[in-house]
Symmetry: C2
Subunit: 157 residues, 2 copies
C-alpha cells in the first residue's frame, strides 16, 4: 500500500483517522542507535509501527522492533509524544491518518540483526554518522530527543 | 450512551476499537487535586476524555479539563501510559474500546470551577481525603502515580 506524508503542508488532505503508533530508540553498549532503511519510502528511520487491538503499547514496541530488525528489547522510558495535527499520512485506500506516535527508549536483550519486508537494511549507526543518512525531519526530531540524555521530561508535541 | 467497564474480567467482550484518551492530574498551590464526580457512573475521577482528530494530545488535555471543570491548564509532564488490553469499555452501540489512556500532569492557570453535563460535582480534593471517595481502581492507580513526586520516569503499563 502506498503512503504519502504531508508535514506542515497547506495542501494536506484532512485527517479522518488516528491509530496510535510507536518508534523505539534502541542503543547498543557502544551508544550506536538501531535504524532501518525503509522499503516503502527509501528513508532511514527508527523501527516501529502501529498498535494492534489486544496488546499493550509496550507489547507493540517489542513486536515491531523484533519484526523489523530481529532485535529483542525491553521498554525502559518514554522519549516523547508526537501528535502534531499538521502531520498526516494519506494511504491509497482513502485513509488519511493523523500522526499519533509515541517514542520510547528500549534496551536490547538479544536476537540477531536481520532485514524484513519493511526494512531492506538494518544497522547500528554511530550518532556521528546520522547526518549522512536521508531521514524525515519528524523522525530526525525523535532521534535527537532520544539521544539527548540531558532531557529530564518527555517531549510533548 | 451507557458504558460498562470490564477490568481484568474473564467475561469481558473482545475489544474492537482503540481511541486514545487522556486524564490530567491538576494540583492547586496547596497540593489539592482536581477531581470530578462523574454523572455517567457516579464515581470520582480525574478530568479527561477522548482525543479528537485535528488536535494534538496536549490540546485534548486543555479542552477536556476546561469542559469538565472550568479550569484552564497548561500541560507539564507525563504521569504514565495505561494501555492494559484487559481493561475494556463496552458501549451500547456495540463498540468495545480497549483502554488507551495517557495521564498528564498539568498546572492550573485560571478559569472558574464549575460543573458540566459529565461532572455533577467538581472539587479540589486533599490527598488525605482520597480514601473516602469511590474511585475506580484503574483511576486510583493514576492518581497514586500522579501524586508521587519521587517517580523519575513515567509509568508504562
Amino acid at each position: 500500500m502506498s503512503r504519502t506524508d504531508y508535514f506542515r503542508d497547506p495542501d494536506a488532505p484532512p485527517a479522518n483517522s488516528v491509530v496510535p503508533s510507536v518508534t523505539a530508540v534502541v542503543r547498543d553498549e557502544r551508544g550506536n542507535i538501531l535504524l532501518i532503511h525503509k522499503t516503502d519510502n527509501d528513508l532511514w528511520a527508527l523501527p516501529g509501527g502501529g498498535h494492534d487491538v489486544g496488546e499493550s503499547i509496550a507489547d507493540t514496541v517489542v513486536r515491531e522492533v523484533e519484526e523489523e530488525t530481529g532485535v529483542a528489547v525491553v521498554v525502559e522510558d518514554i522519549v516523547g509524544l508526537y501528535t502534531d495535527p499538521q502531520h498526516v499520512m494519506a494511504y491509497d485506500d482513502g485513509e488519511v491518518r493523523q500522526q499519533f506516535s509515541i517514542c520510547f527508549r528500549a534496551r536490547p536483550t538479544g536476537g540477531t540483526l536481520r532485514t524484513s519486508s519493511e526494512s531492506k537494511e538494518v544497522r547500528w549507526v554511530s550518532p556521528t554518522d546520522l547526518e549522512k543518512l536521508d531521514i524525515h525531519p519528524s523522525m530526525r526530531l525523535r532521534i535527537t530527543h532520544g539521544l539527548d540524555d540531558s532531557r529530564a521530561a518527555p517531549y510533548i508535541g
